[in-house]
Symmetry: C2
Subunit: 207 residues, 2 copies
C-alpha cells in the first residue's frame, strides 16, 4: 500500500481513516473497550500515525464526536425531508427519514455520540461535552421548522426547542432499547410513538 500523499490521498489521509474507524469500532464496542492498537489496525495505520494526529486517546474521542457531528450534519442537510412546503410536513418527513435509516446491524444505525456520552460522561468530560454539542446541535436544526409549524397551528405550549430536544431523546432511547435486545423493531416502534405524539400535538390546535 503506497503512502498516501497530499496530492494523492488515496482513500483519505491517516487522520480521516482513523476517524472513520473510530466511528464504526467505537459504536460497536464502546470507547473504553476499544484499544488504540485496534483502531490503528482497523484504519490500516500504525501507532506512530495515531499519536501524530491525536495527542491522546481522549483527543481522538473528542475529534470523533466532532467528526460525527459534521458528517451527520451534512447527511441531514442534504436529505430529502426538507422538500415539503408545509413546515409540519417537513417535521414529520424528518421523523420518517429517521425511521428509514433504521436497519441492518445495530451498530450501523445507532448513534456514536449518544453511546460515548453515556459511557464517558464522568471519566472524560471533554468527550461528553463534544458529544452534547453534536446532539443538541442537531436538535437545533429542527427548531426552525417546528417553530414555524407551531406558529401556523397556533400552538405555544411546549417550546420548539424543547420538542426538538425531545425527538433526540426518543431516538437515543430507541437505540438503547434496540441494544438491550429490542432490535430494529424497538427502534421503529419508538419512532412511531414519537410521530404519533407530534401528530396529536398539532391536531389539538388544528390550523
Amino acid at each position: 500500500m503506497p503512502r498516501p500523499t497530499k496530492q494523492t490521498p488515496e482513500r483519505g489521509s491517516a487522520r480521516q481513516r482513523l476517524l472513520e474507524a473510530a466511528r464504526d469500532v467505537i459504536r460497536a464496542k464502546g470507547f473504553a473497550a476499544t484499544s488504540v492498537d485496534e483502531l490503528c489496525a482497523a484504519a490500516g495505520v500504525t501507532k506512530g500515525a495515531f499519536f501524530h494526529h491525536f495527542a491522546s486517546k481522549e483527543a481522538l474521542g473528542i475529534a470523533a464526536a466532532e467528526f460525527w457531528g459534521s458528517s451527520t450534519g451534512a447527511l441531514f442537510a442534504g436529505a430529502p425531508y426538507h422538500a415539503p412546503t408545509d413546515p409540519l410536513d417537513r417535521v414529520l418527513a424528518y421523523l420518517d427519514f429517521r425511521r428509514l435509516l433504521i436497519g441492518g446491524e445495530t451498530w450501523q444505525w445507532t448513534c456514536l455520540v449518544g453511546t460515548m456520552a453515556e459511557e464517558v460522561h464522568q471519566t472524560h468530560p471533554d468527550i461528553a461535552r463534544a458529544c452534547g454539542e453534536a446532539i443538541f446541535g442537531h436538535a437545533a436544526t429542527l427548531e426552525a421548522d417546528i417553530a414555524l409549524a407551531m406558529a401556523q397551528h397556533g400552538i405555544s405550549e411546549p417550546s420548539a426547542a424543547s420538542l426538538a430536544r425531545h425527538t433526540q431523546a426518543v431516538l437515543q432511547g430507541a437505540f438503547v432499547l434496540a441494544k438491550a435486545g429490542g432490535g430494529v423493531e424497538a427502534g421503529q416502534e419508538a419512532l412511531d410513538h414519537l410521530k404519533r405524539y407530534v401528530e396529536l400535538l398539532f391536531r389539538k390546535g388544528e390550523t
Copy 2:
C-alpha cells in the same frame, strides 16, 4: 474490619457489597472502564473474594444487571403510584413518580442496565441479555394498568405492551441527554413530553 460471618453479616456479605459497589461505580464510569481492583476497593473486599463469588468480570456484570432488576423491582412495587383507583391515574402517577426520582448527581438517578446495554451489547451479549430482561421486565409491570386504561377509554391503537416499552425508551433517552450535558432539566423535560403524549392519547378517546 472483622470478617463478616453468617451470623453477623455486618453490612452484608462480600457478594452483596460487591453488587452494590458495581451498581454505583459502573453507573458512573461504565463497565469497561471499571476495573476489578476498583470494584474490590469500593466494596472493601479483596480480589480473592471477588473471584470466589463471580467467575469473571462478565459474570459480575450479569449479576449486577439481575441485582438491579430485583432491587428496582422492589422499589417500584412498593411505590405509592399504585394507590389511585383509576388505571389511567395510576399510569400518570407512575410517570410523576419517575420524574420525582430525578435529582442530584447524574449517576445517582440514571439506569445501570441502560448504560451497560448500550456499552456491551456487542462485546458481552450475555450482559446485554440480562440488561434487556431488566428493562423489558420492568416495562411489563406497567402493561396491566395501561391495558385497563385503554379498555376504559376505548382505545386500541398502540398496544399496551408497546406503550409500556415506549415509556422506557423515553426514560433511557432522557438519561443519555442528561449525560450529554442536559442534566436534570433534560430528564424532567423528556418526562413532561411523555406525560403529555399519554394524556393526548387518552384524551382523544375520552371515557
